[in-house]
Symmetry: D2
Subunit: 414 residues, 4 copies
């Protein structure tokens, strides 16, 4: 095997994939799989969505500029206008838009840099089981100890605070955090920013309540700390609304987007910033792949197709409820197995007693033609993240496979 030992997903699904459309992906032998993983959230509009596909092909066909660094292009201008009119304006958000590089980690790196530059402070507050990326800055605010260990240098500029519902449910939210901030003798380095996911995807589909998010936002404002929402996995409609934080009615200072913002699975990252924070010098942060125009084209088309009304949002919420009910039923059906249904919108998970069982369930699902993956610190949560464009029939089909896989794994029939 010439590919490095670091490879992982190809170990879970040991086939060679070839084609894909919508919620379905096919291996080289023509065997189809329902995809309830959706590129870890990068394929909210499904594989090779035909509307976006046509736009991309048309663009390439007519020799539209493909690679443009941060030059101005027609495709980029269209994207900026569409994003502004379709996403920002209706939500009364006046963010400035930065293209920090092709991936979510770039959006996070740029957010952290800017927060530090604006405040003159170094320290960041992250949360338990956070995942923000693998580059050194993003990794330093990520929780997973295997991945942190990979850094090879001490990751030292972040302090983890408990995510919502991390402790016993009795300890008041943020009591410790606010006390540490107010106490000049606490030893907590004054933070530049807090970085948070509203639902922790890699961390195990942990959902922050709207009240918790609102309290966090107010705390940040009171204490003069910037609030960064990393919406890389949960943005672009994964939880229903375009931004996952809309339900909480908060307006973060900085927002990170990537994954599905490119529409077609092509790399694109955005860092959104309150205008007052836009203190960058020209070129102070740059990169070769900030302008992938086919991604702009697909993204523009996706925004126009899915975000000019609330059809997708409502559908996602409804389908999410459906998945949620199915998982709750499963949990109730195996009272001795300590299952737990988790999630919001179409970011759902089923928590098992340990990672071993969850892994077996995912393998059983794969054997039955369904892709899903584990997350959580011990891999104890099976994630259910279909494309938002999944049909009802596909959803039924997939949930039935989940049922079977759980039954087969836990060794009993419902």
């Amino acid at each position: 095997m010439i590919e490095s030992e670091v490879r992982s997903y190809c170990r879970s699904w040991p086939v060679t994939f070839d084609r894909a459309t919508g919620s379905r992906i096919f291996d080289e032998n023509g065997q189809g799989y329902l995809d309830f993983f959706a590129g870890a959230g990068a394929l909210n509009y499904g594989h090779n969505n035909p509307i976006l596909k046509q736009a991309v092909i048309d663009y390439i066909q007519r020799d539209g500029v493909t690679h443009s660094l941060d030059m101005q292009t027609v495709a980029k201008r269209d994207f900026l206008e569409t994003f502004s009119e379709t996403v920002l304006a209706p939500r009364e958000l006046d963010y400035k838009i930065m293209f920090p590089g092709p991936a979510g980690a770039n959006a996070v790196e740029a957010a952290l840099k800017l927060a530090r530059k604006v405040t003159g402070r170094e320290s960041i507050i992250n949360f338990t089981n956070a995942f923000h990326g693998m580059t050194l800055g993003a990794l330093s605010v990520t929780g997973n100890s295997l991945k942190r260990g990979g850094a090879g240098v001490p990751l030292v500029h972040a302090t983890p605070m408990p995510f919502d519902n991390y402790l016993d449910g009795l300890t008041p939210d943020f009591m410790l955090f606010e006390r540490l901030l107010k106490d000049s003798g606490s030893g907590l380095n004054e933070p530049a920013a807090v970085i948070v996911e509203t639902v922790q995807g890699e961390g195990g589909i942990n959902v922050a309540s709207v009240e918790w998010l609102r309290s966090l936002s107010e705390l940040c404002q009171r204490q003069g700390i910037l609030l960064i929402v990393d919406d890389v996995q949960m943005g672009c409609g994964r939880t229903g609304p375009f931004f996952s934080f809309e339900a909480a009615g908060i307006k973060p200072d900085i927002v990170c987007l990537s994954k599905s913002i490119g529409g077609y699975g092509l790399p694109l990252g955005l860092t959104l910033l309150r205008p007052e924070l836009d203190v960058w010098e020209p070129g102070e942060h740059n990169g070769t792949f900030r302008g992938i125009n086919p991604a702009f084209v697909a993204s523009t088309e996706a925004l126009k197709t899915y975000w000019t009304d609330d059809t997708l949002e409502k559908s996602t919420l409804a389908k999410g409820e459906q998945v949620g009910r199915a998982l709750t039923d499963l949990a109730l059906a195996y009272p001795e197995a300590a299952l737990k249904a988790k999630g919001r919108g179409l970011a759902r998970g089923l928590q098992f007693a340990d990672g071993d069982i969850a892994g077996k369930v995912c393998r059983a699902a794969f054997d039955r033609g369904l892709l899903m993956e584990t997350s959580g610190p011990d891999g104890e949560v099976a994630k259910i993240m279909p494309p938002l464009t999944v049909t009802d029939a596909e959803l039924e089909e997939g949930l039935a496979i989940v049922d079977d896989a759980v039954a087969a794994t836990l060794g009993v029939l419902r």
Copy 2:
């Protein structure tokens, strides 16, 4: 302007680009520009190269998987096989291949992580005027002070050593470095690795001689330090051979590739490692955009088209010589202006007395229909990096514009 103040290239070239083919890019009014910038090295095969274009369109058309994380796909397998047979085997290189993420910075971050993991050391040696990327790990080995300042935290795990010919030309190469390494009282933290570009693109088209590179490689071997060549900008034939280090006859422990490896301007990053170094745990480094299959397809096609014989290599060397002669002539023509021709292959530069003059030359070139950009610590070097597929006529045309632009700027006719 909704785009952040951090934008830069769009300030140099204040038009809106639309279409592009080969060495030519057109703005929305149909005005064409010769592109001697080539996506900062990401477009070695030209804009929308027709052969690659057809392969990409065919792939998308037939619903080939677009986004696949690090799953195995037919397109990835083809790429791995082609890269192995076309690039590695003929050069007797047995690297294992890691997909670290979509961009050059990811390739560098992964290289640094691995070097630290393998050696158990934290410190890295970089070189004056190095450029390796904007994420925190890559930035820490980058020289530019504006960009370093953007980090907002002290960048502390790297020590810069003088690049080839940095000092007076009399000081023996590596004398200080080797003395510091051998002296247990020197205070230099024992380095995990040295990271080097064979030609510093962003640093001002500074060329390391093959002797210097060879000495560096030997020093690393003697001292048990890993040698990382960042071939992100200079690889994929920019200096002639596929890898820029081939001329020196060295075999780095780790090689970083990106930019033109994707062929079509689509994001792709590779980290190549000596097999013995492949101590990664599965998933210890990961990322959403490690498998952009249209990039695999374009890359495979590019390798098959351009790298099965030495036509492109020879052509690049010949054209490079041509550019080199033209720049040398220019330098001789303005003896009072302290011009200096620099470069290797088709990575060429003309150094001016300061960044102000170089900037004016680039603007004058733009006014005459040629894109080229400055580099170097003070922006004092005008870079000439056309696609490798540039035609002789285009090269003549472009060099004539350079002549004019220099003449117009220096205020005298040749």
Copy 3:
């Protein structure tokens, strides 16, 4: 004024002191002051204790070696034997003894170094409002933000946890800490050690309960984390027993001693280590002032005089109770003033509503001939730390002045 602006105590007590004996210090005009500060805990046996004084003079008189680095001397051997027989053996402690340098900060620096060397980890857990010293390593585990700010570099290798009773009194102790340790996704760097004061002197006379200390010790053992007790201020009998942790029945892995260990106010620092931890290379930590023989002589004499039976311990506890009652009475006497009596043994404090009031009380006390100082993050606690050798009459006299000073400051008579 030729002395730097950094000077502080001389601002609180703007006279020039000349002589001192026991609990009393005299200024150059012969004005005496009762000293309830006792060199911040360095003068547990009083100023110029006559027994120790004679031993020191005899030693100097007979030309005993004064300065000896870490050479073996008769005075050091006597000290080691006496410390071993008088302090360690009766408490069934088999610590090895390291002379890390002349001050408490050296003892802490050595403890942190060793904990990191033994465990191969970098991170340290400290507690809110901890004080461990001003050198960079010790400062990094100190809470005070003014002092941390003085470092001029980010202090990054420590994470503060809540000290006993820091929050609402309802949150279970160590719930968060233990959860963070057990959760491989928490993002807490695995700690080498926990460093704790049993009573935080500079932090505001915050007392850790014996239950809390026992839980902390058990947690450290369960998790394989070293427990360092910084007994620099609270050791040598300040809270009653020789070590302040004796009441909790715990045996720390490493103990830091300084201040009163020198007996006569002469600099001496000790780091005590479990024998299994003694992995130092010869000279791996060194220093010029590790062997101040007059301090050894005074220390030996103090141990023989005060620690061969439990007279001093009982007396300290009794006097401590007396002070505690007096402070509690004061707190009850001013119900509207939110006073709070704090402390253990002869480490006592009276907490006021803010640092302004506490400062005024200390100044009023000074005007009445009593030295005492504030501590706590906002200087809101007036510390009462007389020599352990204070007489009953002196204690009465001093407490009466405290009464008066409080009354004068709060503007009402009891």
Copy 4:
């Protein structure tokens, strides 16, 4: 053995010392040793100097305050006045004086903190084979790899530059350093300060020429970098004049003193600062042992006895010349042994081919009744640092032993 494995000098000289006067120290059996080590520079006025001894005993006898933190005392005031009049004023130095703690490392820690605070930068330039102390801040600017390794955390805020004559003698001094500073792309973090010893004691008696020091001082002024001279070992007359930098005619921004400044081997540290740099907040740096009054008394007496005229300075220079000649003769006598005489004033060294030989010479000297120790990265230099008060007879006696020890070790007679 109850003392930690970290002990070192007691391994070289395996006897138990008891008494000492002047240049002679006696073990418990009455065996005398000439001391050419002098407490690593802490005993410039000899062991238990009778003049200082009387002053110290008188002070203790009359119950002068012993321990005073940074309170004002008569003894401290006398010291400040005497230091000002005797040392600073005649040299036209207007430094403010800070008492940073009892040892040299404290003086260095305070200097680094202040330099960082004043400049707002973190990075420090140190020199190869520098030694500045064992606390984390001081250790980070120290070269020795064994001692650096003891830190247990990466030491990252300092970059070593070559000390005078470190390379081939041909490379122009500071060429690299100044180039790195001027080049905005060099990757060198902008330094707050340079810290330097004029003669590196622990580093192997490496002497910086006055020209080199002058160039360094000028470079620092040109570049706006603070110059810190660590005169802990070489100050107080060790090289002849009171400050070791006087010969170069430079005025450092910050000066660190300790070791012999206490006169009698008692711990005392001073950080001297240009008045404009005195931006400390009150108490921003503090410590328990900043005011050891017996040390003030001894220091004042030493200044009055030895520094009101140039007798000691001239004597030191003359004796230094004598030692230098003797060592040069030795080096010439063993042409095949590659000996090298090094040093200035009474900081002298004889360099051997390796540390093994130097160690044997020191052991042979010990067997013959002379204490001397090795230094240098491999312990290859035997240091000769007698008290400045050494008599001519003692010097002759000691040098004769050195002769014998070398002869015995090298196995040949001269």
